[in-house]
């Protein structure tokens, strides 16, 4: 029963109710907390940035009718068939296994409808998602579950996954209740085990090896496919330079707010850096190599709105990627399922047990009965609608800044609301010319 605290009771900041609950859960169960979603702590983010709209010194574009381009080409460096996307917002890698087959299909349908790409995950490529996705990026992960040259050739691009923002340095995890017959067969694993996939690639061990690995992938696919390298944001400046040196056509940079289907809570909340400081580090690395815009930068980790999209692009990204927001758009955490969330000890708006496979919305599950609740056609429409809104919002902001293409947004269009965000994003604190750490003053 919920208790309303009396006015004279003071909750400890250090030992708040969440902390107390976790200590007692750990004492009861003897295992770390594994959950889905992404970091829940407050972090400096795009909300701490504002656009300087045009005024006397800048000339805006009319907000609805004037052209503001959104197209992006990814993979121009070495691939003979780069990706041509109509919008700079892609769907991030999420596995069949973590998600149901209809959910994967819906992501493909929605992305295809608005002319963008979707991505496989740590479980291989399903025929449903290949069929529903006009442009599909195939991930090469440390586990290599389901990896095969036929799917490699069927893909439109290849993404070598080194890490992800929710757990840089950690491998994948899929708990037993989600290892159905089909998932087990695709991964060559026994059914029902708690599967932990490798955190290191099996056949290369450093940046020099990665260069040779990328060369092999290009040879197998006759130099047609763009090859991305995905990294979780940590030592971003160095990682980006090494990935570029290894021959990447594009960098996928996932900040610590990036989602996960199943990871230890301690990992999600305490490893990696936020998306906000990661972008300028990556842009600096690319600029110093004279390859900014030639090696495309795709940023993920906490993209929720068109404002987030526009701010990421203004800081120098060529495109962004969404994962958690895409699941929410399809119905995850919807109040529609409140009664069922309550039955499994959660509530709409709080549900993060994506690892458990009991998702009332039928998205993060392998149970046929639950998955059947999710209509891939309706889900696909929701994804398309959501992507359209993100795009329209980003265009609105770009036009307000006088830009005829969203890629013309630049750091000069931004100011920061907090000292931390100013330092991390490398834009001035609003009302000042102060960028802590950059212009020699503090």
């Amino acid at each position: 029963m919920a208790v309303t605290p009396d006015w004279h009771l003071r909750e400890s900041y250090l030992y708040d109710r969440t902390t107390i609950a976790e200590i007692q859960r750990a004492a009861r169960e003897g295992i770390y907390d594994i959950r889905g979603f992404g970091a829940k702590r407050r972090l400096p983010h795009f909300d701490d940035l504002l656009f300087l709209g045009a005024s006397v010194s800048r000339y805006p574009l009319e907000g609805y009718r004037e052209r503001c381009g959104t197209d992006v080409t990814i993979g121009t460096r070495f691939a003979s068939e780069p990706l041509e996307l109509k919008i700079p917002i892609t769907i991030a890698g999420m596995s069949f296994g973590a998600l149901s087959a209809p959910a994967k299909e819906a992501l493909g349908r929605g992305a295809t409808e608005v002319g963008t790409s979707t991505t496989t995950g740590d479980g291989g490529m399903t025929p449903e998602e290949r069929q529903s996705s006009k442009t599909l990026v195939y991930q090469l992960l440390p586990s290599r579950y389901g990896m095969n040259p036929d799917d490699l050739r069927k893909a439109d691009a290849i993404e070598v996954v080194v890490g992800q923002g929710a757990k840089p340095g950690g491998g994948g995890m899929l708990l037993g209740h989600k290892i159905s017959d089909r998932v087990a067969a695709m991964r060559d694993l026994p059914e029902g085990i708690d599967q932990r996939s490798a955190c290191r690639h099996p056949d290369w061990t450093g940046p020099d090896d990665l260069e040779i690995k990328i060369h092999e992938l290009r040879e197998i696919t006759d130099w047609e496919k763009p090859i991305f390298v995905k990294i979780g944001a940590t030592r971003t400046y160095y990682d980006v330079q090494l990935a570029v040196k290894a021959g990447a056509d594009a960098i996928v940079l996932d900040g610590m707010q990036g989602g996960t289907a199943a990871t230890q809570d301690v990992f999600i909340e305490h490893v990696g850096i936020p998306t906000l400081p990661a972008i300028p580090l990556a842009v600096q690395a690319l600029t110093e190599m004279s390859l900014h815009r030639e090696v495309q930068l795709i940023v993920s980790g906490g993209i929720r709105t068109g404002a987030d999209v526009a701010k990421a692009l203004a800081l120098g990204a060529d495109a962004v990627s969404i994962g958690t927001a895409a699941l929410i758009a399809m119905g995850d955490n919807s109040p529609e399922y409140e009664d069922q969330y309550r039955e499994i000890g959660s509530s709409a708006g709080f549900y993060d047990d994506w690892q458990a496979g009991r998702d009332p919305a039928g998205i993060s599950t392998q149970e046929d009965e639950l998955a059947a609740r999710f209509d891939p056609v309706v889900g696909g429409r929701r994804i398309a609608n959501y992507l359209r809104v993100l795009t329209l919002e980003a265009q609105t902001l770009a036009r307000a800044c006088g830009k005829s293409h969203v890629h013309n947004l630049e750091p000069e269009d931004l100011v920061a609301l907090t000292v931390e965000a100013a330092a991390m994003a490398r834009v001035p604190l609003a009302g000042t010319d102060w960028i802590p750490g950059l212009n020699g003053r503090y």
């Binding site: 295992i31 694993l189 085990i193 490798a198 099996p202 092999e216 197998i220």
Partner: protein, 233 residues
Amino acid sequence: MAVAADVEVVDLATTALRDLNQRLHDLDPDAPDPRSWRIVNPNGAHAVACGLDALVDVEIVGHVGYYCAGMNKRATVRVRGNAGTGVAENIMSGSVVVDGNASQSAGATGRGGLVVVHGDAGARCGISMKGVDIVIRGSIGHMSAFMAQRGTLVVCGDAGEALGDSIYEAHLYVRGEVAGLGADCVEKELRDEHMAELRALLERAAIADVAPAEFRRYGSARQLYNFKVDNAY
């Protein structure tokens, strides 16, 4: 060396690797393309004959670098020399035979087919294997068969430290000494069906001078398959 008329010879000293691989990828399954290829002067090149998907015999005369015959399907590739890291990585079917030694990650993540190394193989041999059969005439290095899921690894010599760490359902057979077993890997009884499996694999690998009864079998204790949660009260 005399070359039969129906063997296509490619000299990597004068032909670009890209051109060689493209020609091998372009082999028409229905046309009378040369079905025997000989590649000379590989000189340690990486990614030689990778991504093949045709019933073709490829003989490579000399040493190769990383990822030779990577992701092989149906083709038979023979390396008359040593092979670098990741030979036959993710092999799907067909066979890859190395006459000399192989470096680390030989047959890594392989999902089918046969890999034979007549010399020694380095660390991480058969790592994350998913159905491939691997036969090593000599010894293998440390961390071999790490997270091995399916398939069979036969080692006629010794195995290094941490053999079969975090292994799933792959079958491991070692004839010599094992420096140490990895987490959740244990020795198991060698029964008749295992002797039969060994006999068949040794025969496929054309290794006739060792007997199945000389091997010991290792596999998963299956103690790491599920997280342990103490819900005792």
